[in-house]
Amino acid sequence: WIAPMIRNVGALLVRGFRPRDIYTQYMARYTSPTQGKDGTSHFGDLEKRHVVSPISMLGDLIPVMTGVAMAGRYLGQNIVSMTWIGDGGSSTGAFHEGMNLAASQKAPFICVIENNQWAYSTPVNRQVPLRDLADRARAYGIPSYIVDGNDALAVYRTTREAVDRCRAGEGPVIIEAKTMRMRGHAQHDPAEYVPKEMFAYWKERDPLERFEKHLNENNLWDAKSRKAIEERIDRELVADLEEAENAPFPPAELAEQGVYCEGCHTIAPKWNRAIEEVSPPRSSAASEWKVSEYGGFEAKPDARYEALNAAAETIEVETPGALDGGNGSARARKSAASKSGGANSGNGKPSASTVKKSAKTSKVAAALPGRKGRR
């Protein structure tokens, strides 16, 4: 289950929405996913694509997707839920409450902090005195990754690893993807507040160019197949745009409809687990707290915690498929002995991927996982 924010239109396409859906949404047409009731990327599909619509209020999706993940576990679905938040959005109360609940619930939930250096006109260093927004994770005792957000493969692998962790029941993960917003906040904004040198710095790290270079160097496409792809995309965009432009606006009466669900939906959770399992006697109902230590000041930290806290060392691991090699596609944060974090990345097993030829060294590691969860 995913819930893309407004910058994550790509994720909608990956989940099977078409450019026409996006065009018609922005153009407020009757044929849009929301029939013109809402605009921009505010749409989704609960039934088939498992995409939750965002709302404008930043941070709100984080507890919501935590709830999706909790329900998934309850229903036995073995799913992972994921959403994105901006560097700026990580300052909201909803972000904090949602991540904290996810951590306390060990929910299979991934939050990608898309650190594009700016929140509207405000640079990261004015939002919070942190170099790495991944450090937000430390407030919840959960692991985090930092990844070069302009390295498509590194992002893929890191996310893949996070998904695996979640599936393995290890609880939520924050991924900070470092990137740059290369234009204004939106069309109206010339972004004159961004130092020119900063744009230049990031232009050199253009993720498209880098991915193209990778495809070129590894002979994963050639001029001909590239042209074919580009032409197919162009054709689709042109056709969809035309379709959208010719699509009708909704009839005015629609404005009055749909405030309530009055029998228009049949609500049924998708059980993937015997219903008898969820309640006692087959589910746990020990109605008492387990308090394994008393929180005393001088209490000896348990060994596991010690190890995790010991040192912030960096380990080098083999991650096939990263773009820029040893120059650091994913900077290590903290890696000591996380059962699945450091270890998993350390075993160097290439995970399934369409890009198999490059096998360069990059730094990938998981940060300080939380203490053992309560379940």
Binding site: V64, M65, G67, M70, V259, H265
Partner: protein
């Protein structure tokens, strides 16, 4: 690893399992409603603060953890926004979460999630949010400004929500069941003054009370008193007192504030030609205004007198007993207003 035994029934009052029906308090009726719905439907889960091991600040969920387990009785950190957010996510998965506010006053902390995420979801993108948000509301127990609030109008003014505020044990159970089974987000206010003060004998079998329908609690011909929650009781007391003076008041208990049962109000006004609205919520912007507008729209020609209202003062809820008494409506104030209206 030492553990502490769960008290289950904390103060030794609430049994671990529900007996359907029987003579019960308002609180116990709600608890029965929760248990029966959770028994009936595994997609019903509860989420809130201190609702599991402790059984809730008012013990509404006492014994439910033993009965339904950790996965269905979900204790959270102190994070109202996360409670509502997570409930939305669960609802999107087809579950029917019941979220508890420890005191309804704290609903202000998740106002954004409720009014923007929850309320607009179905209209905006056709995604229903079957969930209930419930909690102890209202004053009269010297709870002070932050443990006595009546926030119903904030939500009755928000399209997409339903707002329920029952006054009897029978209704509380029946409306709660309807709310849980409804496909829409329902705010369910439980007047804490009533929790342990009223008792009724409930039917043993499953029953529901429909949302959106008011109840006529007493018939009368001289004027109509519209009210809800604790004030429905004060209104009935007032009607009894008025009857002794020869004034026959019809008493309508709204039960649901949104959608409002316009028909019930209008029919009664057509009969009595006079209307008094009583609410414990503060005056300006309370539901009496909305009802006044509705009466203008549908029964102006039937009126023999202006619509009147008896409400709380336009202040925060003060803590000290004499202040709170001045702040709140009560039977005497209702009688006085009704008497004047009858004379008009």
């Amino acid at each position: 690893m030492p553990t502490a035994k769960k008290p289950g029934n904390g103060n030794g009052k609430a049994p671990a399992a529900a007996q359907a029906g029987g003579e019960v308090t308002f609180l116990e009726a709600i608890r029965q409603g929760l248990i029966e719905e959770m028994d009936r439907d595994p997609s019903v889960v509860m989420i809130g603060e201190d609702i599991g091991v402790y059984g809730g600040a008012f013990k509404v969920s006492a014994g439910l953890l033993e009965r339904f387990g950790w996965e269905r009785i979900i204790d959270t950190p102190i994070s109202e926004t996360a409670i509502i957010g997570a409930a939305v996510g669960m609802a999107y998965q087809g579950l029917r979460p019941v979220a508890e506010m420890q005191f309804i006053d704290f609903i202000s902390c998740c106002f954004n999630q409720i009014t923007n995420f929850v309320a607009k979801s179905h209209y905006r993108w056709n995604a229903p949010v079957p969930m209930v948000i419930r909690g102890p509301s209202g004053g009269g127990v010297h709870g002070g400004p932050f443990h006595s609030q009546n926030p119903e109008m904030y939500f009755a003014h928000t399209p997409g929500l339903k707002v329920v505020y029952p006054s009897t044990a029978y209704d509380a159970k029946g409306l709660l069941k309807s709310a849980i089974r409804d496909n829409n987000p329902v705010l369910f206010f439980e007047h804490k003054f009533l929790y342990r003060r009223i008792k009724e004998t409930l039917p043993a079998e499953d029953y529901t009370v429909p949302l959106g329908k008011a109840a006529t609690r007493r018939e009368g011909r001289d004027l109509t008193i519209v009210s809800y929650a604790a004030m429905a009781h004060s209104s009935l007391e007032a009607a009894a007192a008025l009857a002794k003076e020869g004034i026959e008041a019809e008493v309508i208990d709204l039960r649901t504030l949104l959608p409002l049962d316009r028909e019930a109000i209008i029919n009664s006004v057509k009969k009595t030609n006079k209307l008094l609205v009583v609410h414990e919520d503060t005056r300006t912007g309370g539901i009496a205004g909305e009802i006044a507008a509705v009466v203008f729209e549908e029964a102006f020609d039937d009126l023999d007198a202006p619509v009147r209202r008896v409400t709380s003062l336009d202040t925060p809820v003060p803590y000290s007993p004499p202040l709170e008494e001045r702040f709140l409506p009560n039977t005497a104030k209702i009688v006085e207003a009704a008497r004047e209206l009858a004379k008009y």
